[in-house]
Amino acid sequence: MSSFKRKTLSGRATLPQGTRLSPFSTSTVITSTGIPSLDDILGGGLPLSCSLAVLAPDHHSAYGELVQKYFVAQGLASGQKVCIIHDEPLRFAREGIWMAGSTLSTPAQASTAEDVDDEKASQHDDKIKIAWRYEQMKKFQTTVSSNSLNDDFCIAFDLTCRIPTAALDAARQSAQLIPIDVDISEDGTAVIEQIEELLSNDTNAHAVRVCIPALGSPHWGDMQPPTVLTLLHSLRRLLHRYPNACASLSLAPHMCTDTWGGPGWVQKVGWLTDAAISMSAFGADPSLSSLFPSHHGIVQILTLPAPHTILPASDKYSTLRGLSSAAGTMGGSGENNLAFKCMRKRLIFETLHLDLEGGVTERRTTPASSAMALDAGMAHETIPATILATEGRKGSLATVEVEFEHSKDVGSDGPTRAMADITADDSLVPAKPKKPKKKVAFRSERPDLYDF
């Protein structure tokens, strides 16, 4: 991509390994998170002296830790110092990922499922007749992939490859990998002191990555919201003081929502870190996963890093967010919705678009066969959850009872019951089956006639 041209180092001290100057602002040095699409969302990479918080509120998956694994692997592979703060840091490091082709499994194996799909899709595309005026346009891309421009900036990792023990041992020997244990008896300040000691002893030649894969997991003890916020803030101040370091942390799943930290909790985390994203997986909600079958969750951007400018680099340079084309001249369109999916070999962040079936080619008046009558079901899923959440703090909030006036319909029977009876079970009320409506689609027996 042309926007990531490497700038010549003009009279500046050589950059640490694995970093480069941000194309947006020459005073910012950025480094890769290991995931090219996440780098794009952040505006080229994570700037040094910035902290990144990844919130993954889904209890049943570990996307936050996955992002941290990429972070650690990228740091080790590009020769930077990596510090892992975990209750068992070496175990976390041993489960890390690595580049393809470095293990015994041959990289040129039979292609994986998604590669086969990609091939089929590209073949299919060739058969579509593209209107002549659009033939020159590039294919519609939903994500960015790492280009071969700067091989050492962002390395392609393979989720199926585990880090070889030889590389791990070598990193430990050379003090490239520094594990820090979290003891249940200490509180957050001890961790900050240890990081500070590490950073002050370090020479400025190497960039340092601080990784906290599971902040708030049981080994950290019983953390209260002010403690967590103070920790985030102290970490940020530390990074301001030692600007050749950057940090990436991932909060424990139960701490990623407002139900734990009180109203506005997620916003507080966003204010106290330089960059924050929230990856809400579809795992718990079947309606969302059927609406977006090819993605695993939605990404919400809370904060973007802008360490030396007012405008975050991402606003101008992110192709995924799509604001750059709109800024200034042509007038603004909104930014793209973002989602992520975890494939067998990699984790990618993509733009989220409606499926073909919801698009403009077919005017649909029946619901698709795959989409069940989910509206009543969806209401059921979400309403009991919010009731239960407020129930937990019964003492502090007034209990509110809402009653629907017209409670005779089948559709609203469910919500009324759920509202009135606090201890309602979560079973789905079967909705009245809808009559299939007529489907209108534009098809012609003579495709040549309407070939435009």
Binding site: L229, H233, R237, L311, D315
Partner: protein
């Protein structure tokens, strides 16, 4: 469109700036600082910082072409002073029992009064910017301490003929929290920076409204209502302001 109007920041006023996470108001603070320093060569500016670093203030100032001689060494310039709220400890604090990062509001107040009285002979209005009083509340400083601190700051600035700008984050948009209610009682003007309801956009980053504080006489000076809010778009070091519907894409 010029924002702020030149006499919005004037002596003895408390300007409360509230913002939300999708539309942060740091650009406004930087803008006030730049305008104040540009206004006269000897104008004094003190920043009490909780979240942003000195590095950022300096680099944004340099990008906004504030490279007049007094700004080349901004950290030691007598006209721009940066006080990190977390670096002030009372000298008699027993290090054994307290945390390193414990905030002492009394210390900050004393330091500020010393600095402001130094500049009294100047004849220029000093500008005091308190970046982010909300974080102090989040770290556990009690609401009582904070409201007393803000009241003390306000009276200090009134005594010293200084202008005070306080930034507050709103995290539960429709409902004002307790600290906001205290601040609203004290302020002269309430500048509200809000995101667009439709989310981020390339042409408009957010909008600004100005409301009167409770102590002001019935005047419509500087007031910008929500319906005719001033919209802005962030640039690298500042922002471009325009009325609703007159952004570059439309005209």
């Amino acid at each position: 469109m010029q924002f702020p109007a030149p006499d919005l920041v004037s002596s003895r006023r408390l300007l409360l700036i509230t913002d939300q996470l999708p539309a942060p108001a740091d650009f406004l603070l930087h803008r006030f600082l730049h305008l104040h320093l540009k206004q006269s060569k000897t104008a004094k500016c003190i920043v009490l910082a909780v979240s942003e670093s000195l590095e950022r203030w300096k680099s944004v100032a340099s990008k906004a072409q504030m490279t007049s001689p007094q700004n080349t060494n901004v950290a030691h310039s007598e006209f721009f002073q940066f006080i990190d709220v977390f670096d002030q400890h009372p000298p008699s604090q027993n290090r054994g029992e307290g945390h390193e990062n414990k905030i002492s509001l009394k210390c900050i107040y004393d330091l500020l009064s010393v600095k402001l009285s130094d500049s009294r002979t100047n004849g220029q209005i000093p500008l005091v910017i308190l970046d982010d009083i909300t974080s102090l509340e989040w770290f556990g400083v009690s609401l009582l301490d904070l409201s007393r601190f803000v009241r003390a700051l306000r009276t200090l600035c009134v005594k010293m003929d200084a202008a005070l700008v306080v930034r507050h984050h709103i995290i539960t948009p429709p409902e004002p929290d307790a600290l906001l209610r205290h601040l609203l009682q004290l302020c002269t003007y309430h500048i509200e920076v809000r995101p667009l309801a439709s989310g981020r956009s390339g042409a408009v980053s957010g909008e600004i409204c100005v409301h009167l504080g409770p102590s002001m006489k019935d005047t419509n000076e500087h007031v910008i209502s929500r319906t005719s809010a001033l919209q802005y778009r962030l640039t690298e070091s500042s922002a471009v302001f325009f009325d609703k519907g007159t952004s570059t894409g439309v005209l």
